[in-house]
């Protein structure tokens, strides 16, 4: 019988999904998704997941392979096995050593409050401007492509 606690959508490791994958709760992906992913909750991308889709979510925890843009209203975590090819727009980002990110990373105006140059700068901080460091383990090349 149905367990109606919290409606978590789960995409199993051997499953292939194509199209618009929508959810109202959390979304856990261990398989293959092509298209668009949209949820009001957290998207967790497993180590063996392969995603060719744009992701729109409140939070994201990425451990697998993503080709597409991430539009996250909250926090984005890229784990050490993560590989993201696309732009990330998020409020807060955390990148573990070993993660791969090829694309632009935009963090939101939450950075403005902590920045000593808040009055002078544009509030949408880019990785190549002088803003307080975000949590990354490794080196940053201040160009469009960022690899750690």
């Amino acid at each position: 019988m149905s367990n109606e606690g919290s409606p978590e959508t789960i995409v199993g490791a051997s499953l292939k999904v194509e199209g618009v994958l929508k959810s109202e709760g959390d979304l856990r992906i261990d398989g293959e998704v092509k298209g668009t992913i949209s949820t009001k909750g957290t998207v967790s991308v497993g180590e063996n997941a392969r995603i060719e889709a744009d992701i729109n979510a409140a939070a994201a925890i990425v451990s697998g392979n993503v080709k597409g843009n991430l539009n996250i209203t909250g926090k984005t975590s890229l784990k050490k096995t993560a590989s993201v090819k696309g732009n990330i727009s998020t409020q807060q980002i955390e990148i573990e050593a070993g993660a791969h990110l090829v694309g632009k990373c935009n963090t939101e105006s939450a950075q403005k409050n902590n920045s000593p140059h808040a009055d002078d700068q544009q509030t949408k901080g880019r990785a190549n401007q002088e803003i307080p460091p975000i949590k990354i383990a490794g080196q940053l090349n201040h160009k469009e492509s960022v690899s750690v």
Binding site: M1, E4, P7, G12, S14, L15, E18, G19
Partner: protein, 265 residues
């Protein structure tokens, strides 16, 4: 006035007769008397439910198996009737009973309390269902081998199928799985679709590993499940349809008497 519809399965086991006798004593003690009738080959459950509707009996109490209750609920939903439906399961393990929070021990007590909930019904290929719709691959033909070899080398052959599942007209799933199960998610007004895929069990009897089942879960409002060849579909335990299978939530509601241990709010 109560209207009790007794399932013909009551006569199958002595155990059921004891349950019914105990139940009737409780009914008399609590003053829940009413008209009693039985499903026979001449009088099907649909006719009995319609009879209860015409005579304006309330509630209609089904005494018997899950299937009889599902048929009664389906009949009420088809005719858009608002009569309250109650269930007294006679089986020890009743899927519908556990959904409603009713067991054969506490059914009459719950009936006397009359906690009524409106429940949205889901529909599968034109049939309303309450607990579950399932579809799985057909079992493979047994391998040709002498009997003693079959006992020693027990291989579970793969009984997969590759359905095409369209969810909410938005996304398509096409993968090898063992079974598809659909449950109505009453509290959240969605369906729960569960796809199972088990690894093949291999090995000798002693070293055989337990199959790992990979589950996928989706929560749509409707879904269409198609397979390369028509497969049987079980709706609330009855095999009454075949793929393609269309499942959706409907706006039809029925009133059910439920217990505190029900699986929805």
């Amino acid at each position: 006035m109560y209207f009790y519809i007794y399932d013909s399965s009551i006569e199958e086991k002595k155990e059921y007769a004891h349950v019914v006798a105990r139940m009737e004593t409780e009914i008399n003690n609590l003053g829940l008397t009413g008209e009693r009738t039985k499903i026979t080959s001449l009088k099907k459950i649909d006719q009995l439910v319609l009879e209860a509707i015409q005579k304006k009996y309330e509630p209609i109490v089904i005494v018997g198996r899950d299937q009889s209750f599902s048929e009664a609920a389906s009949c009420l939903a088809k005719h858009g009737q608002k009569n309250t439906l109650a269930f007294v399961p006679i089986e020890k393990k009743s899927v519908v009973g556990s959904l409603l929070g009713v067991t054969r021990e506490n059914a009459i007590t719950i009936l006397s309390r009359r906690t009524i909930k409106k429940v949205l019904l889901a529909r599968a290929n034109g049939h309303y269902f309450l607990s579950r719709v399932s579809c799985h691959a057909e079992p493979p033909k047994p391998a040709a081998a002498p009997g003693f070899l079959k006992r020693i080398f027990k291989k579970n052959a793969q009984n997969f199928f590759v359905p095409r599942i369209v969810i909410d007209d938005d996304c398509v799933i096409e993968s090898k799985i063992n079974s598809v199960d659909v449950f109505p998610g009453f509290s959240i007004n969605k369906l729960k679709i569960k796809l199972d895929k088990a690894d093949t069990q291999r090995g000798w009897r002693i070293t055989k590993k337990k199959a790992q089942v990979e589950q996928s879960v989706f929560w749509p409002r409707q879904a269409l499940i198609n397979s390369p060849k028509p497969l049987p579909v079980w709706i609330d335990g009855r095999q009454i349809s075949r793929t393609p299978l269309k499942v959706s939530l409907t706006k039809r509601q029925i009133n059910l008497i439920v217990g505190p241990q029900r699986r929805f709010s």
